[in-house]
Amino acid sequence: MGVRTLDQIVELLTQNLISPIVLAFVLGMVARAVRSDLEIPPALYQGLSIYLLLAIGLKGGVALAETPMSELIGPLSVTVVLGLITPISAYFLLSRFGKLQRIDAAATAAHYGSVSAVTFLAAIEATKNAGLEGNGYLPALVAVLEVPGIIVGLMLARQTRVGGMKAALHEVVAGKSIFLLIGGMMIGALCGPVKMESVAPLFVDPFKGVLCLFLLELGMLAAGRLRDLKKAGWRLVLLGCFIPLVHGLLGTSAGIFCGMAPGGAAVFGAMVGSASYIAAPAAVRIALPKASPGIYLTLSLGVTFPFNLAIGVPLFMGFAQLIAN
């Protein structure tokens, strides 16, 4: 049975790599490698992210309206707890094994404590393709998981700029990523499934296609970070794979433990294992100007995101199925 599971995992890995989403990411990286003049105009890029965040929110809201509160309490609590623990474990690993200075370790930990919405989406797609059962309320957890890790991370630094913590908090909570997620969720929950049908041809049907375009851009951005990998050193690159692995397996187990379906737990694992590269960098830059973006951005976008996309997600799916039995 262990063997069958290994086969399954390999199968999942391949399955996962040959998908429009992953290949769009790769295409973006290739664009930079061959120095193509391809560029997604900033306005378009912003439009895509507004669309994606709002759409996740709307979908989550509808699901939330259909989920009894009792079913939510477990997952919500687990999410908050993991949001508080993961930045600490990341900090520990980064300063101990990564040999980072306090401020850089803390800044990077804030990223690992938070969550990457696109990793979440890629995981959702992958589980759907693999035919695993998911949980509709997961987008709500994305919103919840986004904030606490950043706060803990900033606190670990112990040297935020004057007024920086407050500014960073506002940046996170009223920042467009959380705002659209929660706003969309409220609209979805208030309107319910029937009324939302009228906007489904925009917010549901073309969703995966839009995700592809977004990943094309992300691939280009990640490629820009790859140049910095050498400077970061092998220790950090290794940690950029190890931390999401540890956090991801932890998250997956916690998900199963609090009653998620296997697919849901795998997605939850991917969330917990992911590192933010939208909300966290902005907050960290504001509060900890002396921390080096070259470290935290390179790790979260250049290492951990592709790692999760290619290896993490299928692994968590296999693991979730394994422990669900």
Binding site: P281, R285, K290, L297
Partner: protein, 100 residues
């Protein structure tokens, strides 16, 4: 009647936009013109890709005000952020428009 004034131009990572405008208002700037810009400088790493391109802020003011702002920028921002500022001599028609 043309009168001489100073044009302060600041280019910085866009995350700082609101902060910088606030700082300038505090010191007595009465107006701004803000454009989006891409940039390349001496700093190796920047987060600007994520927060969109740089901002380029222009504000016309008296030399004294410009110097005060420049000093605060230098003290609080030059070291840690991707930012640059320069002064140009200009002439305008309505001096009173540019004094707080």
């Amino acid at each position: 009647m043309k009168v001489p004034l100073t044009l302060l131009t600041v280019v910085s990572e866009s995350l700082l936009k609101e902060e910088l405008l606030q700082l300038m208002r505090e010191e007595g700037a009465t107006g701004f013109t803000v454009t989006q810009a891409d940039g390349e400088g001496t700093r190796e790493f920047r987060t600007t890709e994520w927060e969109g391109p740089n901002v380029r802020i222009e504000t016309i003011l008296t030399v004294a005000t410009a110097d005060r702002i420049l000093e605060r920028l230098s003290a609080d921002y030059f070291e840690s952020y991707a930012i640059i500022a320069w002064l140009t001599d200009v002439s305008v028609l309505r001096r009173n428009k540019f004094e707080a």
